[in-house]
């Protein structure tokens, strides 16, 4: 028989009961699409996912928050521009900036909401080719010291799906220089820049490293057989799991 694993096989996560106590909130806005996927990723990484509703005024006792992808409010105004004003967002902004530095991950539309919230600098505009694009994208991890990347290594290349219409990251040169200098460019597109993003930037962090946003979708690369294509029999479809194990590791305070 071949070495190609069956899809849906248990992913390579050690069963760690201590992780299950870590609660990660997943926010749903009207038009959010990837909330169930993000919750599944948390579960597969060993943590407990908690649904959060945009209109709520309390964050509850979550240890981290994921703002998932989608088209909140249809992206009819500007991606993320309306969601940014949700009651829950002000709680998230406060918690992210507090002493406790709540870990926050924004994926795709979530990244757009984070830039609209000014938790992260810059903005996203329409892809340079003006079309929606869905592809398996290679990324280089440029900073493996953020709350969401400690389980990767600096320079590691991973493949995760990318799917968006407004994914072109832009910022002024001064901001870009500062991001580079401070090691806040967390992910860069490798081989192919799919949307014209400045300096091939796929994801960035805030200064403290607890808030990370990126356009590609690590939550779609957490389960064998349901992620990016594994060419030549080498499974690459769980490359995104490290995001979720990273934050769990950080929450429970264990060593890497």
């Amino acid at each position: 028989m071949t070495s190609i694993p069956l899809i849906g096989e248990a992913v390579a996560v050690a069963a760690e009961p201590r992780l299950a106590g870590a609660k990660i909130g997943v926010v749903t806005f009207p038009g959010t699409l990837d909330d169930r996927d993000a919750a599944r990723a948390v579960r597969l990484a060993g943590g407990t996912a908690v649904s959060l509703w945009h209109a709520d005024n309390e964050l509850g006792d979550v240890d981290a928050v994921i703002i998932p992808g989608g088209f909140s409010y249809g992206d009819y105004l500007r991606a993320g521009a309306i969601s940014r004003f949700a009651p829950l967002m002000s709680k998230i902004i406060d918690a992210a900036n507090s002493e406790a530095r709540l870990p926050v991950l924004g994926i795709c539309n979530g990244f757009q909401i984070l830039t609209e919230s000014h938790l992260l600098p810059g903005s996203m505009i329409k892809n340079d080719h003006l079309k929606f694009i869905c592809r398996d994208q290679t990324l280089r991890v440029e900073n493996a010291n953020t709350a969401w990347t400690v389980d990767y290594t600096d320079g590691q290349e991973i493949i995760v799906p990318l799917k968006n219409q407004d994914g072109q990251y832009i910022a002024d040169e001064k901001t870009l220089d500062a991001l580079e200098a401070e090691g806040r460019v967390v992910f860069r597109y490798v081989g192919f820049n799919p949307n014209g993003s400045r300096r091939d930037i796929a994801g960035i962090s805030n200064a403290a490293g607890n808030v990370v946003g990126l356009m590609p979708h690590p939550e779609h690369a957490v389960e064998t057989g349901f992620g990016p294509e594994s060419l030549d029999g080498a499974p690459r479809d769980t490359d995104g799991l490290g995001f979720f194990t990273s934050v769990l590791t950080k929450i429970v305070g264990g060593d890497k």
């Binding site: 190609i4 079309k131 030549d232």
Partner: protein
């Protein structure tokens, strides 16, 4: 929550209609025939009011009433065995059929056309096609989990094709991506017969627990009728605007679009909102609003229930306050649903609406009078038996006859024709022919389209384009899932409609089995020309007869579908195009079989035998020939092949499988090699000797009931024994070669995978940017 009506109309009440029998009504402008209008008068015992006329005209249209096809469509319900009914939980007639998947799961799927709107306004036409079919799925109580889109456009190099292609693909993507539904496959065909009549079909599939199945009926006297979702506007009224004469003033917005405008965000919210209603068991009956809008929803809910219904039309929330009663009844504004709610559940229903910020208005209630009564500020403007509107429309036995030209078309075989001159035979010619084939408009890579669709969302997509079938996991615990494929071949069906429709079914069935799934159910979208043309009517009648016979023989029932007629420009119809969708079941999607091989040294087997069948083939199409007879249909062989593929998948005997269809073995070998960039060494001498065909025929013939598989060394004996035991032809034709980076076929010049990929992938970008 009622709309304030500031406009006062000269309302044509039932009372007024009874007193003014001789009033001229614009029935002809609304598309009704004299005999149909007379029938309405007979049914009502008086002339219809303007509002009633509006309702009957849309509900008795071809689109809603299937009046030309109904007599033939019956066969789908008649040619069914008890065995076929076993897993059918809901059959034809509801919004979509429902099939039992086991473990308490049920699946519902349906394919529909949105052809004409997609030609007029490709983006919105295609977008709202997705929206409409998805609402059909929600109406059954299901969570939609995937979509597919079979597309047929005019000639690839015609200037108008780019307009339709860009718009339709962007519309499907723009709407579908925003709903969070993975697009898992479809078709793409270019042919000048579709130049003025592109076919934009859309399929949606949804899943639910058995207890969550919902039906469109209004039962229980005193239960409330509610309309929710988007507001009602003037879009999609079309020819009905003649009713503007009802109005006193002429300051109405001009030029209402006949094509509906989609709002995918509203639909996404509507999906979540409906699922929450279902979860709380807050609705008794539910119906989406599609064609014929409120006319359809009220008359169908009322006639499928056990009583009548009373509705106050001024309670409908409007986008445009100047709409007349008739226009409100006919509007096809998107993203609307109608439900029946018990008085006890009103508060809980409203809480769900408020949570999702969805607008709603209570229109009336269910009665036991057997009448559908619609009022306007209390005055009765509709008083009908809802069955007469929804179900008792006219039915026509349209004359049909085998066209005079059919014999001469069938006599004109490709082999030996002028177009067949210089048939490739030398190794260089054959290599060039293979490359030309895989770069041709119908056989080239569809990635330009599919990369504009989200295939990942939901996290349950186990297979999607370019594999033979789309596969979606249903149960995350057990891996239970479904596979879906759609197919049609307009050229085959033009040559012989009875057989052509069966070939469409056979291919979709084969595709599903190739993925490892057990075929279970069928949905069809019958795209044809005008039923008033006896030639076309014969094509339709033959296609339905062929398809229903084949379903019976394969043992899989039709659970729903749609008929799209009048697809013709002037007197020239499209090729008859019955698009057939087959749904299959996988006990564990982990066992699904992809179309490409990966492991070096695995044996490649060809299942089935090859005859000289080039009529109607892609190769003959490339040479500009269309004539002769399509490939033979052998449903027993299809069934046997299917069982082999399913068993091989279940028992881990094959790692890759790809069906042979358009483009024959040549196309399949290239596609299986390019899938993972892993080549193969192939020798066809034994096949040529066994089947008595030359190398060209072995590569390009489109004989049915064939597939190629790659078999691990350790499984070869077991696999061969299984084929032998089942008496199915199988032949080892080569071996997977991971190192070479090429496809080697004895007697054909070497084909490097890089060159093949470039040729395969360059075509769509060349024409569409």
């Amino acid at each position: 929550m009622t709309t304030e009506t500031t406009k006062k109309f000269n309302i044509d009440t039932v009372e007024h209609a009874a007193k003014t029998p001789d009033t001229e009504l614009p029935w002809a402008e609304l598309g009704l025939k004299q005999n149909e209008f007379d029938e309405i008068v007979k049914v009502l015992g008086r002339r219809p009011t303007g509002a009633e006329l509006a309702m009957y005209s849309v509900m008795w249209s071809e689109h809603c009433s299937y009046k030309s096809s109904k007599n033939h469509l019956r066969q789908f319900g008649e040619k069914v065995t008890e065995e076929m009914k076993k897993d059918m939980l809901v059959g034809i007639g509801e919004n979509a059929g429902v099939t039992n998947l086991g473990d308490g799961w049920a699946v519902t799927f349906k394919i529909e056309s949105h052809n004409s709107p997609s030609f007029v306004e490709p983006y919105q036409g295609a977008a709202t096609g997705i929206g409409g079919i998805v609402r059909d799925i929600i109406s059954m109580g299901a969570r939609p989990v995937a979509v597919m889109d079979p597309l047929r456009f005019g000639a690839i190099d015609h200037p108008d094709t780019a307009r339709v292609m860009h718009g339709a693909v962007a519309g499907i993507g723009g709407y579908g991506n925003c709903l969070g539904l993975p697009n898992i496959g479809g078709e793409m065909v270019f042919d000048s017969v579709y130049q003025g009549n592109p076919l934009v079909n859309a399929l949606a599939v949804g899943v639910m627990r058995h207890e969550d199945i919902r039906l469109a009926n209004a039962s229980g006297k005193g239960n409330k009728v509610v309309l929710f979702g988007a507001r009602t506007g003037g879009d999609g009224i079309g020819g009905a605007s003649v009713l503007a004469s009802e109005s006193f003033d002429d300051t109405k917005p001009s030029k209402r679009p006949a094509v509906q405008v989609g709002d995918p965000f509203a639909e996404k919210v509507l999906i979540e909102c409906c699922l929450e209603l279902f979860k709380g068991s807050l609705v008794e009956g539910i119906q989406d609003l599609g064609a014929a809008g409120i006319s359809c929803a009220t008359s169908e809910l009322a006639s499928n229930g056990d009583g009548g219904m009373e509705v106050e039309l001024t309670s409908v929330l409007l986008r445009d306050p100047t709409l007349t009663p008739g226009e409100i009844l006919m509007s096809e504004s998107q993203e609307r649903m109608m439900a029946v709610v018990t008085p006890e559940n009103i508060a809980a229903f409203e809480a769900v609406m408020d949570k999702w910020a969805v607008e709603y208005s209570w229109l009336g209630e269910v009665t036991d009078t057997g009448r559908l009564i619609i009022t306007w500020e209390g005055e009765v403007i509709v008083d009908v038996d809802p069955r007469t509107v929804a179900h008792d429309g006219p039915v026509y036995d349209r004359p049909f006859a085998r066209p005079e030209w059919q014999d001469s078309v069938q006599a004109n075989s490709f082999t030996g024709s002028v177009e067949d001159a210089g048939r490739p035979s030398a190794p260089t010619e054959l290599a060039a022919a293979v490359t030309e084939l895989v770069a041709s408009p119908n056989m080239c890579s569809k990635a330009w389209i599919t990369k504009q669709y989200d295939r990942y969302v939901g996290g349950n997509t186990a297979m999607a384009f370019p594999d033979d079938a789309g596969v979606v996991r249903v149960d995350e615990e057990t891996g239970l899932g479904v596979a879906l494929a759609t197919d049609a071949n307009g050229r085959y069906t033009y040559l012989e409609p009875y057989q052509g429709a069966q070939l469409a079914l056979a291919e979709a069935y084969r595709n599903v089995a190739t993925s490892g799934a057990v075929p279970m159910a069928v949905s069809d979208c019958l795209n044809f020309g005008s039923p008033e043309d006896p030639d076309v009517m014969w094509q339709l009648a033959e296609a339905i007869r062929g398809l229903s016979d084949a379903c019976m023989e394969l043992g899989i029932p039709v659970t729903g579908g749609n008929v799209s007629l009048y697809n013709q420009t002037g007197t020239t119809p499209i090729h008859p195009s019955p698009v057939v969708a087959v749904l299959g079941k996988l006990d564990d999607v982990a066992r699904r079989t992809p179309s490409g091989w990966r492991e070096d040294g695995q044996a490649i087997y060809l299942l089935g035998t090859t005859a000289a069948e080039l009529d109607g083939s892609e190769w003959s199409n490339l040479r500009g020939h269309l004539g002769g007879l399509p490939p033979k249909v052998d449903l027993a062989a299809e069934r046997a092949l299917g069982e082999i593929l399913i068993n091989a998948s279940r028992d881990g005997m094959v790692d890759a499988a790809h069906d042979l269809s358009e483009g024959g073995l040549a196309a399949a070998l290239v596609e299986s090699s390019l899938r993972y960039g892993v080549g193969a060494r192939i020798a066809l001498e034994e096949l040529m000797e066994r089947d008595g065909v030359d190398l060209f025929t072995a590569l390009f013939s489109e004989t049915q009931a064939r597939a190629i598989v790659s078999v691990p060394r350790s499984e070869e004996v077991r696999f061969k024994d299984m084929c032998t035991a089942r008496g199915f032809a199988h032949l080892r034709i080569g071996v997977v070669d991971a190192a070479g980076g090429k496809l080697e076929i004895n007697g054909v010049d070497e084909l490097s995978l890089d060159a093949l990929r470039e040729a395969h992938e360059a075509t769509l970008p060349k024409y569409f940017g």
